[in-house]
């Protein structure tokens, strides 16, 4: 307990040091006056209040500023009283720390803008360099690395000395190196050591730090910096290849997900289903409805909303698919181009139906916490939603393959598509298999919609943006071959992402389309074409 207070005091001293530079006059007033300024609803006053409170050394400073950051600080403009809503729901008077039963009427949140948010972060950062939570210490050290403020050096060094956590220790070492690098009265040897540390960090921030060092340096330092920069640069170039590859794989997984359903309805059944995109859209809207119900009735389930949505989307889209097959497609077998026409009409109807039912605007589908944010792998950022979509896509693909190979339905499906008459004479109910196959393709499009709702708009136009790409993928991979679809999707995705930095997003896409056209000349039946005379029989 006592060390905690000492820590806080130290922090307050540091904060004082940090803020003197640009906030000298605010020191005068007592703590209560400073707090009252929060009630003025004026950004400059709030800024002044933050500085004064942080510098006050008052034990209430940390709770007040954290509350401000988290939007829990409210003020009554009439009485100029300021209150902290604590995380446990209790309310205290910010100036006195006394508990309050009930907020007076007319209180409003103390507003922030970006400048203030940074000031709050900085204040909290300095207040938390010695925080017991290692994650907060690391964050604080990182913000020092960016600001490389010499005033923080004593605290950083102290923290470094007693730090036991490995990552935190590394962060403090880097922060110290950054400070030393910019501090004027440091020996050359120390500076060279600092450069080595920064070079070892090797990321964008290290690069930014080194480049901002400026040209007026002793020759030895200058060469060391130049060497470090070029080494980081070549490192980063290598990483950017890895990054492009990852982006390509990620884009490929999205393409694959959108195309798998089509690979079944189009590739296996030969039905040109222009309403495929709308099945994806229906899946996305199913997710929306699921989340909406969860939000209003069972907020605790939000993180599993997608797990609930996946089977539901499969059932909803699959059922609609079966209905389409029974109602329209089955009358059109043997006339594949007519199915194009009818399903195009259908896609117009479905789009407008969704527009009428849900309105024309985008609908909000949230990311569950496990699909938000990103993690660093080496020098690249991998976002969780993309990663999960990749995993999900491969799982869907694997399950589908296994289903086609090992289940009775899969066997019947393959039998019917290879030789309908033979299958029928062997007692397979071909029309049932047709309906189920189409339902399966549509259902998979539906679950694709669940995943795509995580990265794209949920609007009536959602499906349209994927239909052309999906057809390209299936045709490029070779109609009737699921592996072809897989390889096709990833090839197009990766090619696109390597072209994009060179040619730009638009030209890159044009180049891909031209490449597909040329590729089809070379292999008129796609990447994995069926060979032999059966093809044309």
């Amino acid at each position: 307990m006592s060390t905690n207070i000492i820590d806080r005091l130290r922090a307050a001293v540091l904060a004082l040091l940090l803020t003197v530079a640009f906030a000298a006059p605010a020191l005068a007033g007592p703590f209560e006056d400073a707090v009252a300024k929060f009630a003025n609803d004026d950004f400059s006053d709030t800024a002044a209040a933050v500085e004064a409170v942080a510098a006050s050394g008052n034990p209430l400073a940390l709770p007040i500023i954290s509350a401000l950051q988290e939007g829990r600080l409210v003020a009554d403009p009439g009485s100029k009283k300021v209150f902290v809503k604590q995380a446990d729901g209790k309310i205290i008077d910010a100036a006195t720390g006394a508990a309050v039963d009930k907020l007076p009427d007319g209180v409003a949140d103390v507003r922030l803008n970006n400048r203030l948010r940074r000031a709050v972060e900085a204040a909290l950062g300095s207040l938390t360099l010695l925080s017991p939570d290692p994650a907060r210490r690391i964050a604080a050290a990182q913000s020092v690395f960016k600001s490389h403020d010499a005033n923080a050096l004593p605290v950083v060094e102290e923290a470094l000395a007693k730090e036991t956590n490995r990552s935190a220790k590394a962060a403090f070492t880097e922060a110290r190196a950054a400070i030393l690098l910019f501090k004027p009265d440091v020996s050359e040897a120390d500076k060279l050591d600092a450069i080595a540390v920064v070079k070892a960090k090797g990321d964008q921030e290290a690069m930014a730090l080194l480049t901002s060092l400026g040209p007026d340096q002793p020759p030895l330092i200058k060469t060391a910096v130049a060497g470090a920069i070029s080494s980081i640069q070549s490192d980063l170039a290598m990483w950017s290849m890895v990054q492009n590859a990852w982006y390509g794989i990620s884009l490929g997984s999205v393409l694959l997900l959108a195309a798998i359903g089509l690979a079944i309805t189009f590739g296996v059944m030969g039905v040109i289903n222009m309403a495929h995109g709308e099945m994806v859209m229906i899946g996305a809207y199913t997710t929306f409805v699921v989340q909406e119900v969860i939000r209003t009735r069972y907020p605790g389930l939000f993180d599993v909303s997608l797990l609930i949505a996946v089977p539901l989307a499969f059932v909803v889209a699959g059922a609609i698919g079966v209905a389409i097959e029974r109602g329209i497609i089955r009358f059109l077998y043997g006339r594949p181009l007519e199915t194009l026409l009818a399903t195009w009409g259908l896609s117009l109807v479905l789009q407008q139906a969704v527009r009428t039912a849900f309105g024309p605007t985008n609908r909000e589908v949230g990311n569950p916490s496990w699909m938000s944010g990103a993690f660093e792998l080496g020098q690249i950022t991998i976002t969780y939603n993309r990663l999960w979509i990749l995993v999900f896509t491969l799982a869907v693909f694997g399950i589908l393959l296994a289903m086609l190979r090992y289940t009775a339905l899969g066997l019947e499906m393959r039998a019917v598509t290879q030789n309908r008459r033979m299958a029928a004479s062997m007692g397979i109910a071909t029309s049932r298999v047709d309906a189920l196959t189409f339902g399966l393709g549509s259902g998979i499009a539906g679950i694709a919609g669940v995943a795509l709702s995580q990265i794209d708009n949920v609007s009536p136009n959602l499906g349209q943006s994927y239909i052309i790409d999906s057809f390209m993928v299936v045709v490029f991979g070779g109609v009737g071959n699921l592996w072809g679809t897989l390889v096709g999707a990833f090839t197009l995705g990766i090619a696109n992402k390597f072209l994009e930095p060179v040619a730009g997003a638009v030209l890159g896409k044009i180049a891909i389309l031209v490449l597909i056209i040329l590729f089809i000349q070379k292999r008129p039946r796609g990447l994995f074409a069926l060979k032999g005379r059966a093809v044309e029989a």
Binding site: L341, L348, A353, M472, L513, I520, Q521
Partner: protein, 389 residues
């Protein structure tokens, strides 16, 4: 030449030509001669609207020629239409001269505010009508020739061909969207003033353009008839129904496909060129794959493999679109259009004219003696479902 005309003009074909010419003249006269507001006067906006339909009808004919007769399903024919339109649009842009908002005598407005120092090389020559008219044929024709030469030689058929034509138009869509491409980006080309010295917005010019479109429709129809009634037309159907058979008979299938594909692209280009001055804008959305698919649907609705059907389908579907997008039904028009497409495929698989022929022919065959048998087949041969597609 005489024998080509004789065999092209059977009873149905002549009726079609007379109806188009009659309607064209009637509408024009009514617009010019009758006082505005009178019950029988066709207002100018309708003349422009009909002109648009006629251009679509030409596009539909061009699609029917390759799809209905030769089995090539192009899902990118809108690209040729749009290219023809752009060629005309570029001419019309150059005709604006110094009347643009910036008053630059050479550069179109969009080039002025995007800081083009001078006219890009590919804009040169478009100030001359003959050059633009040539390009209307040449650009779509050349693209179709190159594309077809590659695709048909490699024997890309069926759905693969359809999808790469779609890729082609999609790539062009993206390219024309780019402002750096020098065609006005998303806004395209618009605010035209003159065509051949006549104000494009004057009633007289509109009527003249409408008549010209009707004339072009008749001409396109005659060319299509001449092609499909020739031995080449029989061969196209043969290719559609049994491509490898024709190959083993010693025909170079790719040459035939290339010929008819290029011809069709040129026709689509002309349709686009006539369309632009009448609607007053050409922009990249004409390249949208959806537009091309819709054009194919016109043909299917009217009757694939019947030339009159293709033209009729274009007019019917577009009239429906015009009708349904106004008034109290406006929010629901997509339901109606979608339902129309579904119902036509389910209930009238041969399209309007195809179904009519199937119902009319047996009855008529009784009346017409065997001597006149060639006429009995109308201009259509029912397409056989082709599993290869």
């Amino acid at each position: 030449m005489q024998h080509i005309l004789t065999r092209s003009l059977d009873r149905a074909a002549t009726t079609f030509i007379l109806v188009v010419a009659g309607l064209g003249i009637l509408i024009s006269l009514s617009n010019i001669l009758l006082p505005a507001g009178s019950f029988f006067q066709v207002p100018t906006y309708l003349v422009a609207l009909f002109g648009k339909y006629v251009c679509y009808a030409i596009l539909a004919l061009s699609i029917d020629l390759i799809w209905g007769y030769c089995g090539i399903l192009s899902l990118g024919h809108g690209a040729f239409f749009a290219l023809g339109g752009y060629a005309m649009g570029m001419y019309l842009m150059r005709q604006i001269g110094s009347r643009g908002v910036y008053g630059n005598p050479i550069l179109p407005d969009f080039m002025v505010f995007l800081n083009y120092p001078k006219l890009p090389w590919y804009w040169h020559g478009f100030d001359m009508f003959w050059f633009a008219a040539l390009m209307v044929l040449l650009v779509p024709g050349l693209l179709a020739f190159c594309f077809g030469w590659l695709a048909f030689r490699s024997r890309v058929t069926g759905v693969y061909l359809s999808i790469i034509t779609q890729a082609m138009t999609y790539a062009l869509l993206l390219a024309f969207f780019r402002n750096d491409f020098g065609f006005g980006g998303n806004n395209g080309l618009t605010d035209f003033k003159d065509i051949l010295g006549f104000n494009v917005q004057a009633d007289g010019t509109r009527v003249a353009l409408f008549l010209l479109s009707c004339f072009s429709l008749i001409l396109a129809f005659l060319i299509c008839r001449a092609v499909v009634t020739s031995k080449l037309g029989k061969l196209l159907i043969a290719i559609r129904d049994a491509e490898s058979r024709t190959r083993f008979l010693g025909y170079r299938v790719e040459s035939y496909k290339l010929f008819v594909f290029t011809l069709s692209a040129c026709m689509a280009g002309v349709a686009g060129a006539l369309y632009v001055p009448q609607v007053g804008i050409i922009n990249p959305s004409e390249f949208a794959p959806g537009n091309s698919i819709e054009a194919v649907i016109w043909v299917a609705v009217g009757g694939r493999g019947t030339l009159t059907g293709a033209a009729l389908g274009a007019v019917v579907v577009n009239y429906a679109k015009t009708y349904f997008t106004s008034g109290p039904l406006a929010p629901y028009w997509l339901f109606m259009l979608g339902a129309l497409f579904i119902l036509v495929t389910l209930l009238l698989p041969k399209g309007i004219v195809g179904t009519f022929n199937a119902w009319w022919e047996p009855w008529k065959a009784q009346r017409i003696s065997d001597a006149d048998e060639s006429a009995a087949r109308e201009d259509g041969i029912e397409p056989k479902p082709n599993p290869a597609e």
